[in-house]
């Protein structure tokens, strides 16, 4: 962002116009409508009425909203760092193209070709308490079968695991692309200086990776805050609210409880939380890099 080129506005305009026009029309306008919708209610007849802050006041009084906030924060506190560390580890693991590594790279990307709803159904079957192959494996090894999705204290951890199964390969791709963009000369120069692998990683690779890392941090945070397919398809927020993510709360308000004002209020909260986290994540990386 520092010292960019200053050009006549018309040049900048033509670069930005195609994408921003699309974004404005198909995203920003609907978002604006949604933000305003958070201050309205819908009458049965479909009439929209202004209710001011009432949707938000009702959220603050609602224990199920606060449970969702708690579950969502807990989930993200674990899943984001975990996915990024694993993805970074995998990217480093497959960075050097020694024999067979191309095969492993492709293998790690395979789960991202499985759609989210299919991932949910697949893992619902694999982790079924009585007929799932994973419990079959545990039984064969003489271990007690686990409830996974159906256990109040295991469901959220299961969600973290399944989200990571699908996610790590995806985020690895971006980090790998970032690593590939680090000029080779820098690595070689550092090697001649006698720097060890760890030092090279910390002082050469990591600083140059801060922009790709920034992207992955923000994109991963957004993806995980917006995740809800497994909750919708498998756990329905249960058992006992253990997997009631905010996004599921918003979805249910909109499509089951037909309470659009509430749904949009929850969505606004989600947007603000992701935005705030993204701001801090980018800030953090910028200072580290400077």
């Amino acid at each position: 962002m520092r010292h960019g080129f200053r050009e006549p506005w018309i040049v900048v305009f033509w670069f930005l116009a195609p994408a921003l026009a699309g974004l404005a029309l198909f995203r920003l306008v609907p978002i604006l409508i949604a933000l305003v919708g958070g201050f309205t209610g819908t009458k049965l007849t479909g009439e929209t009425i202004w209710v001011g802050l009432r949707n938000y006041e009702r959220l603050l009084d609602d224990p199920s909203f606060w449970n969702s906030v708690r579950v969502t924060l807990l989930f993200n506190l674990v899943v984001n760092p975990l996915q990024i560390l694993l993805a970074l580890g995998l990217a480093l693991l497959v960075f050097r193209p020694t024999p067979l590594v191309p095969f492993f790279r492709a293998a790690y990307m395979a789960p991202m070709t499985v759609s989210l709803s299919l991932t949910s159904i697949l893992w619902a079957i694999l982790l079924e308490p009585t007929m799932g192959p994973v419990n079959g494996l545990l039984r064969a090894m003489g271990l007690p079968p686990q409830p996974f999705w159906r256990g109040e204290d295991q469901a959220l951890a299961t969600l973290v695991g399944v989200a990571s199964w699908k996610g790590v390969g995806y985020w690895m791709v971006f980090l790998l692309a970032g690593l590939l963009l680090v000029p080779k000369e820098l690595h070689e120069a550092a090697m001649i200086d006698g720097a060890g692998a760890w030092q090279r990683f910390c002082y050469v690779t990591l600083p140059l990776m801060r922009r790709p890392l920034g992207f992955v941090l923000v994109a991963d945070t957004a993806a995980n805050f917006l995740l809800f397919a497994p909750v919708y398809l498998v756990t329905q927020g249960g058992p006992n609210g253990a997997t009631a993510l905010l996004m599921f709360e918003a979805y249910q308000a909109a499509f089951t409880y037909l309470d659009h004002g509430r749904a949009l209020a929850v969505s606004t909260v989600i947007l603000l939380v992701i935005g705030l986290l993204a701001f801090f994540e980018l800030r953090l990386l910028r200072e580290r890099g400077a």
Binding site: F26, W123, M131, A177, F215, V218
Partner: protein, 281 residues
């Protein structure tokens, strides 16, 4: 020297063990799924709860589910999804890289605010904007067209963000030199930045491709007619409340997975190519 070689050998063994372990965890579920698509309907769940040789190597195989899936609407759905996804990739890489380039290279008033707005577009739950979006697309007369599936997904805040972050890796001095040589900014973007950004373009294409390949809810809302059925909808049609054609589900899902793997394999070659050329540099 021998201890050193030993350490290197040990490290390589550890590295490959880790590679194999991770690959097993990530691939085994997919293997189970693809295998299930070849099992006779009655066998799919028969062996699921108890693990034996039959779990990994089925006793009976059938191509029935595949034949059935492929004689239905799946080929049409695959063709539609491919068309939608590839068009989105072509358009999306172009417009988003232009915008990402502007954010990475230029300095202009209101840049910060504009960038925040771009970021906000991928932080809002899609489900909460789907009704206004549907009203809009209907108002434009686009329902039940390919345009309804493609246009709203071309411009992507996330992809702009990706380009903006990765374009920064191109040294500014190169731009200055090109400007001195009298190149226009469009030429610089096309002849300098894009050729240097192979992996970035490849990953951006993947993002757009996967996004459209996985599209499910929006196609049902915007273009649910049988002529424009997309692949995820064709897959989901196998399971209803009352009858589940698990074999059909797994066969069509395997088709979707294996086809989507192709771009990833292409990406592989692309990466190798980039590394090779980086080494030559």
């Amino acid at each position: 020297m021998i201890p050193h070689a030993c350490i290197r050998f040990g490290l390589a063994v550890m590295r490959y063990s880790a590679l194999v372990f991770v690959a097993t965890v990530l691939l085994l579920p997919i293997y189970w799924l693809v295998l299930a698509s070849f099992r006779p309907a009655a066998d799919i769940f028969a062996t699921a709860g108890t693990v034996s040789v039959a779990t990994f190597l089925p006793e009976r195989l059938t191509f029935e589910h595949w034949r059935e899936a492929w004689s239905g609407e799946l080929p049409r759905a695959v063709a539609n999804s491919l068309f939608v996804a590839l068009t989105t990739v072509a358009l999306g890489v172009t417009v988003n890289s232009l915008a990402g380039f502007a954010f990475a290279v230029f300095e202009f008033p209101g840049k910060r605010l504009l960038f925040v707005l771009v970021l906000a577009t991928f932080m809002m739950p899609f489900e909460s904007i789907v009704i206004p979006l549907y009203v809009l697309v209907r108002g434009l007369g686009l329902t039940d067209t390919y345009a309804a599936l493609i246009l709203p997904e071309v411009a992507s805040g996330l992809v702009i963000f990706l380009f903006r972050q990765f374009f920064a890796a191109v040294p500014k001095e190169l731009y200055e030199a090109a400007r001195v040589d009298g190149a226009s900014w469009l030429q610089i973007w096309w002849r300098l930045t894009l050729p240097l950004s192979g992996p970035t373009i490849a990953t951006a294409s993947l993002m757009l491709f996967v996004h459209q390949w996985d599209a499910f809810f929006w196609p049902l809302v915007a273009a649910p007619g049988p002529e424009r059925i997309v692949v995820q909808v064709a897959i989901a049609r196998n399971v209803t409340l009352e009858v589940a054609n698990w074999g059909g589900l797994f066969a069509s899902a395997s088709t979707a997975i294996l086809l989507a793997l192709v771009p990833f394999l292409l990406l592989q070659r692309f990466y190798l190519h980039t590394i090779a050329s980086a080494a030559e540099r």
